[in-house]
């Protein structure tokens, strides 16, 4: 991806942020993202992103675990190497329940965390552009993507009028790259020009 131009407005109060988000959207600007120090309830709906279906993935991983556990234990004890254990049936369902349950949980949890990291593009040594370092401290940072039609000065004034305590313009790479936070790195592919 190539670098893009963003207008960044920082808010120090989520009660001001909400009406601002609404106005920005009605004015037709494209909100790239809002960065917040904690999960703000209802913000995802306000900026118009759809519900996540991560939990559905979790359910599927879970039943995979159930099937794996029951399938493996059943096959091992009835087909591969049947042993008489205390006179119990070979397919001793009550005795299989604990392991089945554990594997269900294990598959579901591990699968979901990996999916979460994949979806959010998160991993050790992953680096992204941070529009404001205070977004993890006390500011709610609204980032608006500039298109060819965007009048940057108008937009800046618009944000200030709607309660932003700080407004600036940044050119940044919207994606992620491998990097370290102790070095000021840029993505090498910056020179790449996106075909129109």
């Amino acid at each position: 991806m190539a670098k893009k131009k963003f207008v960044v407005g920082s808010f120090d109060n989520e009660d001001v942020l909400f009406p601002a988000v609404k106005k920005v959207r009605t004015a037709g600007y494209k909100i790239h993202d809002v960065y917040t120090p904690f999960p703000v309830h209802g913000l995802d709906h306000a900026i118009g992103i759809r519900e996540t279906s991560l939990h559905t993935a979790g359910f599927i991983y879970g039943i995979t675990g159930t099937a794996t556990a029951l399938g493996c234990m059943g096959w091992i004890f009835t087909t591969d190497w049947p042993v008489n254990i205390g006179g119990k049936p070979h397919f001793a369902l009550p005795a299989f329940i604990p392991i089945t349950f554990e594997l269900t949980v294990l598959f579901s949890a591990v699968g979901m965390v990996i999916t979460f990291c994949y979806l959010c593009q998160m991993m050790p040594f992953v680096k992204k552009h941070h529009f404001s370092l205070r977004a993890t401290d006390d500011l709610f940072v609204m980032v608006i993507e500039c298109t060819a039609k965007t009048n940057v000065d108008d937009l800046k004034a618009f944000l200030t009028n709607n309660g932003a305590i700080d407004v600036n313009v940044q050119e940044a790479e919207p994606g992620w790259w491998f990097g370290r936070y102790d070095k000021d790195q840029q993505l090498i592919r910056d020179t790449y020009v996106q075909p129109v």
Binding site: H41, F59, G86, G87, P94, A95, I97
Partner: protein, 412 residues
């Protein structure tokens, strides 16, 4: 929004239905009494009294579970239930009434030496069972009767005290100090109720009332299991009444958010019940000691096999699969269906707990189910009638409850 509707008016249909159910129930119970209760065969008489026993115990205990719910949320400083708190309160007014019925029934059974219900009353059995003789320090008539009276009596008294406290929130805004004192007194009474509940439902009482039917068999889990069974059914009962009132246009402050949380309770405690069920069953199955496995012998391998698995399907498989989804817990129709299913499912659970021991070879629900459903209809009819009246007798919303506003903006 207009003013909050506080006055519940009993719809004519509701009264008709309740009276009809009571009439049918009474009629069938009387027929049952004549054909079975007065029968010359001991087994038939056992079926009649046993049917009365498990029904009265079940309906009393699920109503008491509603009071348990109130007390537990009070102790946990829960605020989300404030908008519909009057519903479990109204249901719990049944405890003294069903308690009287169940108590009198049990005292009658014990005093009239109905050995075909409680094995330890049967002098012939006791004579050749050293084990039962050894238990006479616990399984004896005076102790049974006193404990039964104490159990039901204190449930009723402490429950009534909780309801009286709740009436304080009808009269006007509580100041900060009044609110503090209100919460404090509620906490104290709730704690007393919970302690007594733990000593009764959580331990001694189910041993007397139900476990002693098989006087030689024992399981330390039994009371926990009974508690879980009645609690989840009690939560379903609350859900049913909340949905009914919403359908009639009342409880406008209660919404999907509250329904969702009720659904979570039903879901979670269905799993909890299954957990206890599994722990009890698996441990007995695994250790394979004849004295213990005898309890499951006819339930798993004998006549009750169908009921046994039906019990698991209705009370575990259905809730876990259906209630897992968020949208189901927020859907009034599906929640109604699930609540009915679970109240019915745990009724079946009680059926197999009690009748599985009284009538080991015959599943009476299949041969003479009219009696079971008849007695249940009698209790359901009484429940509709009395809960309707209790709801109508007080404001439907505890308007000045300190946590009402939190409950209004409650969000799952």
């Amino acid at each position: 929004m207009a003013a909050i509707k506080e006055k519940f008016e009993i719809p004519g249909k509701m009264r008709t239905w309740s009276l009809a159910l009571i009439a049918i129930g009474l009629l069938l119970t009387i027929i049952g009494f004549i054909t079975k209760g007065l029968s010359s065969e001991e087994h038939e008489r056992a079926v009649f009294w046993g049917t009365l026993l498990y029904n009265s115990l079940y309906f009393m205990m699920i109503c008491n579970a509603c009071m348990f719910f109130i007390c537990a949320t009070t102790l946990a400083m829960g605020g989300w239930d404030a908008t519909f708190r009057r519903v479990p309160e109204a249901i719990s007014t049944l405890v003294p009434i069903f308690g009287t019925i169940a108590g009198l029934l049990m005292i009658f059974i014990v005093l009239s030496d109905k050995g075909y219900i409680y094995q330890w009353l049967d002098s012939k059995e006791v004579a050749h069972s050293k084990m039962i003789q050894g238990k006479s320090g616990f399984l004896n008539k005076p102790f049974f009767i006193i404990w039964t009276l104490l159990t039901i009596g204190l449930w009723s008294v402490l429950g009534a005290r909780m309801r009286r406290l709740s009436a304080e929130t009808d009269n006007g805004q509580l100041s900060y100090e009044q609110g503090k004192s209100f919460v404090w007194r509620n906490t104290v009474t709730a704690a007393m109720f919970i302690v007594w509940f733990a000593l009764t439902t959580g331990s001694v009482t189910p041993w007397f009332w139900m476990m002693s039917i098989d006087a030689e068999w024992y399981s330390t889990m039994y009371s926990w299991y009974t508690f879980a069974s009645t609690f989840v059914a009690g939560m379903s009962l609350i859900t049913l009444w909340v949905i009914y009132l919403k359908n009639k246009g009342y409880l406008e402050l209660t919404n999907q958010e509250h329904l969702h949380d009720l659904g979570k309770f039903v879901f979670a405690f269905s799993i909890f019940w299954t957990y206890l069920w599994f722990a009890q069953y698996m441990l007995i199955w695994y250790a394979n000691i004849p004295e213990e496995t005898i309890y499951f012998k006819h339930r798993v391998e004998g006549a009750y096999r169908g009921i046994f698995f039906f019990n698991l399907i209705v009370n575990f498989v259905c809730p876990i699969l259906i209630l897992m989804k968020r949208s189901v817990k927020r859907n009034y129709t599906l929640m109604t269906f699930m609540a009915v299913l679970i109240v019915f499912g745990h009724w079946i659970d009680f059926y197999q707990m009690v009748m599985g021991s009284i009538s080991e070879q015959h599943v009476t629900l299949l041969s003479s189910g009219w009696l079971d459903f008849g007695v249940a209809a009698l209790f359901i009819g009484l429940m509709i009638l009395i809960v309707g009246r209790s709801l109508a007798s007080r404001p439907l919303v505890a308007k000045y409850h300190p946590f009402l506003k939190e409950s209004i903006i409650h969000h799952t």
